[in-house]
Symmetry: C2
Subunit: 596 residues, 2 copies
């Protein structure tokens, strides 16, 4: 049975020592968000993840969700109880606005707590995760009345939420969607159509489910310009705003999937279901995309979370499993063999994973802090910078982190040998669960296109210029610090190569957009590697400073070792990506479609 212990030391290092999230207390909104409360919340969340969610992960995988003949769905044994405990712990409202019953704490607190939940039980964590997305959408686009009606119950965890975008014939290309909305006399709409892949679409954990549904009002323009967003509650609300009559929406079936079995991925059938428009007609995608951008950070986080839990278990196994002898001579002379952690190739996989996890954690938390600062900072220029950075970082966090997590979870599984392939040890589940993160909320290829086709060019390339300026300033500030000179040199190197890639894209993407398309994923990885190098430099400087200030805590020296592994053994990938990218569209597009 796999275990999970929230990496509290590392989380606190990033949150407090590197990012200094306590700076948020300077703003009135977060004046009570002090570090001790954060520590207590993380401690509590870690305990809940370890003791409650982790044991349910395997159960969820084995049992899956069951749809009954009446369309109702039962979640795996223990999920409902755990959900109630989670709600009682106040998790749902942690970073939600106080006016609707939330605690009003910074988003980054919720992000850190979310990492633990996703690591312990990704399928479970999606239920509150989807609700958060729906809360976000209603917060952004809903009327005051809608907010008052829905947000308090959702924030209290009494009702959950879903996102209904995909239809059988369209996922990425939402312009093709067909679900229709016919206006009723009272201002509501009749929604009819079929949605697929609806996570948490139907379940037994809450008294109502608030579906957010993209649909096309009769007569709306074709394509993406004719899409509106609707609230469609599973049970219509009665005069007291309590769940009343069943609405015209049912779960038609549950998908049989490769992973996340504990989450009910539903086909949802809408048949004259009563819906209420959010925001303006035909402007539904705008709201949905603000919400989705946030959700993409969460998906990147899922990649990190699965990589972390896979890593922890692989380390345990590598320390326990006795097999073979160290190449340099026995390390466990009295035992029948050495623990496999002595073998360099096992180390390689563990170090690849560890240096990824810690870099990813830093990156996601940084993005979380930027998001919080964007909401409270007084300086318009600074807010603009936060927004620019987040625009750039979001596709990279979603795409690069989940691509890498696929490999690291596979590597951690590999460390188990044959035991990794059988379900009993749980490593297969980490790989299978991770797999969806490369697909949903915009497949990784779409993230790369978003980065290359939109985010880079936006506002004359301001975001990347601004990031580069920050990196240059960082290099200038720390160039004299000899103890971390290898990190600073690596950062320069990464920046130079990323810039070369960017220039190539600008020059060649103009003449033929397929040049940009063919190199987009390589470019996304280049940017991921570069930003990781920046993250590692910042962490290295912080760790080195702690040592210089007299700390004897091995944590800091180990942090430097791990960072050096990254710059020595992961950073070189950037050369291959650059070389691949610069071949352009020609080799990629040369075959006719028939010749495949």
């Amino acid at each position: 049975m796999p275990s999970y212990n929230a990496p509290l030391r590392d989380m606190e290092f990033v949150l407090k020592e590197v990012l200094n999230v306590d700076q948020l207390t300077e703003y009135e909104k977060y004046s009570e968000a002090d570090g001790d409360t954060l520590s207590a919340i993380l401690e509590e969340g870690g305990k809940f993840s370890r003791e409650v969610l982790t044991p349910l992960n395997v159960i969820g995988d084995h049992e899956g969700c069951k749809r009954h003949e009446d369309g109702s769905v039962t979640t795996p044994t223990g999920f409902k109880d755990a959900y109630e405990q989670m709600v009682a712990n106040g998790y749902m409202g942690m970073s939600q606005p106080t006016e609707y019953g939330g605690m009003g704490m910074p988003g980054i607190w919720h992000l850190a707590a979310g990492e633990m939940q996703s690591a312990a039980n990704m399928a479970f964590a999606m239920y509150p995760g989807l609700t958060n997305g729906a809360i976000k959408a209603i917060t952004i686009g809903g009327s005051d009345a809608q907010k008052t009606t829905y947000l308090p119950k959702m924030i209290a965890g009494q009702w959950t939420g879903t996102m209904n975008l995909t239809e059988p014939h369209c996922g990425t290309d939402l312009g093709l969607l067909k679900t229709k909305a016919v206006p009723n006399a009272d201002g509501s709409y009749k929604i009819t159509g079929q949605k697929i892949f609806i996570s948490a679409g139907e379940h037994d954990m809450a008294e109502n489910i608030i579906h957010l549904v993209l649909a096309r009002v009769e007569g709306a323009p074709a394509g993406v310009k004719g899409i509106s967003l609707f609230i469609v509650p599973k049970f219509k609300l009665d005069a007291n705003e309590n769940p009343g009559d069943a609405n015209g929406v049912t779960c038609g079936s549950i998908e049989e999937k490769m992973g996340i079995h504990g989450n009910s991925t539903c086909v949802m059938n809408y048949d004259d279901a009563e819906g209420y428009m959010i925001g303006e007609e035909n402007k539904g995608l705008k709201v949905m995309f603000v919400m989705m951008n946030r959700a993409r950070l969460d998906v990147g986080m899922q990649g990190l979370a699965q990589s972390e839990v896979a890593y922890q278990n692989a380390v345990t196994y590598a320390r326990d499993r006795l097999q073979g002898r160290a190449l340099t001579g026995p390390q466990n002379e009295n035992g029948p063999a050495d623990p496999i952690i002595v073998h360099p190739d096992v180390r390689r996989m563990l170090m690849d994973t560890k240096s990824f996890n810690e870099g990813a954690r830093m990156l996601v938390y940084w993005a979380g802090l930027l998001e919080d600062l964007e909401g409270v900072h007084k300086d318009e220029k600074y807010v603009e910078k936060c927004d620019d950075f987040l625009g750039l970082l979001t596709p990279v966090i979603k795409g690069y982190l989940t691509d890498r997590a696929m490999q690291t979870t596979i590597d951690c599984q590999q460390i188990y040998g044959g035991h990794g392939f059988i379900e009993e040890w749980g490593m297969s589940q980490f790989v299978r669960d991770t797999r969806i993160a490369l697909i949903y909320e915009g497949a990784n290829g779409i993230q790369a296109l978003d980065l290359v086709g939109r985010k880079l060019a936006r506002k004359g390339g301001r975001a990347l210029m601004s990031l580069n300026a920050e990196i240059d300033a960082y290099i200038a500030e720390h160039e004299g610090n000899e103890k971390v000179s290898d990190f600073i040199a690596a950062l320069k190197d990464a920046k130079t190569k990323l810039t070369e890639g960017t220039m190539w894209l600008m020059q060649n993407g103009m003449t033929n957009p397929n040049n940009a398309g063919a190199g987009s994923v390589d470019y996304m990885h280049m940017m991921g590697i570069s930003i990781f190098t920046y993250m590692w430099s910042i962490m290295a400087v912080t760790a080195q400073k702690a040592i210089d200030d007299g700390s004897n805590d091995d944590f800091y020296s180990n942090k430097l070792i791990t960072g050096r592994y990254f710059i020595q053994r992961t950073l070189p990938m950037i050369d291959t990506h650059l070389a691949r990218m610069k071949t352009g569209a020609e080799p990629v597009m040369a075959l006719t479609a028939e010749a495949f």
Copy 2:
């Protein structure tokens, strides 16, 4: 439902046009192995794979194997029928010796036919695959009486075979194995112990199962020097050599696995089972390893096979699925959207896979031909060369092909978006089935160690020197051929870098063996990439010649395009591997075991 069509055109190109397998007819043993018969066999095998095995693949995945209370095992619906058809088609005996009832055709014929079976239904193909392994072991090490008793029935498919190596506490490190063998008065042994992960360990498809079991004769030396190999039939043979009384071996349980559900992976309990030693006492591993080396080629082939079937289905989906518009303007103006094969990033994944598949096929078939030639060639030097090359190629084929196939099957699944994640479309199965190929028959890290620690150094490095000499000669021969000058230049480049890597290993592996261990997987990939570049150069020269000779068949121009993709977009990976390797053991080993 996924489909599979054996890539006969490409198989024939490699077999006949590039490798000229007809050369084998010059040897008496294969005088009847003419190209027309081969074509007929491939055609027939393709039909059987497409029509019989492919539809059973999904069924096998869903149903799995069922163990009953008495320890008997039922295979998935249709497997037994398919097995009988396969036997009736003469597949089992194709390349087996005529003296025991085989057809005596070249091993490469069987290899090509095996590719189709593995692509169509990997779990099914393992039943005859394991039998072949057992046949091989008995052929190598068995007494004449054992051969006469067992081989004809196994070659006829009447009995199947298994390999019993792994025990709960040991897989890679067989020196730790505990299963014991106590001599009986009649020269047989009583075998007692538990074996795990036994593929095809128990099933309902044949009247007897011949288990080959590694065990330790009482009082034998500790470690690998005290291991013997035994034949343990499921049913002991009666006086007429027909299956009689049950032996003391039973299936204790079937493992629940990530993939290959259609194959019964058993825990096998031996309780005073009657066994008969193969070959000499304490020399069991020698026989087992000769057999395993052959099996490693088959596992590499499984990687190719899964990548091929995943590719074929991804191509179909990419042509059918309408989503978005080409970056360069609509390609399907009358439709609601363009087929996703217009998108460069979809192309990238297809081309990565196609260029891998075709290179892998060439490499595995080349190894197959070397194996056949090794058995019949008159020139001792040539035979030696074949053996050297096979020693070097085997770990690379096993390790590099399956590592790459993991990525390509994931990429092909990615092309399906959300549909790739649900089991209905079958892409998940290709990924899950492929996963085991990186683990069994020696995990890929073990292949890399075998390459770096044994194969490179063997006989003063003769194998690589000999391969390099062959490549140098090839470069010299074709350097003047301007139309393929990019391939020849790429080959030179690859060889230079591989040589640099080899030199580094030699210099630094001596001073600290962990330097070799830490770089072993990177080196294995370098060698894989280099040898692929050689394979692609040979195929390019052949294709270009066909064009120069006046062929208008697009096959040849497409082959050149695909090869150019490889040298432009995969070959650059070699730089990253070299850079990673040259960092040495230090970054990999710097952390203490406790610090992970």
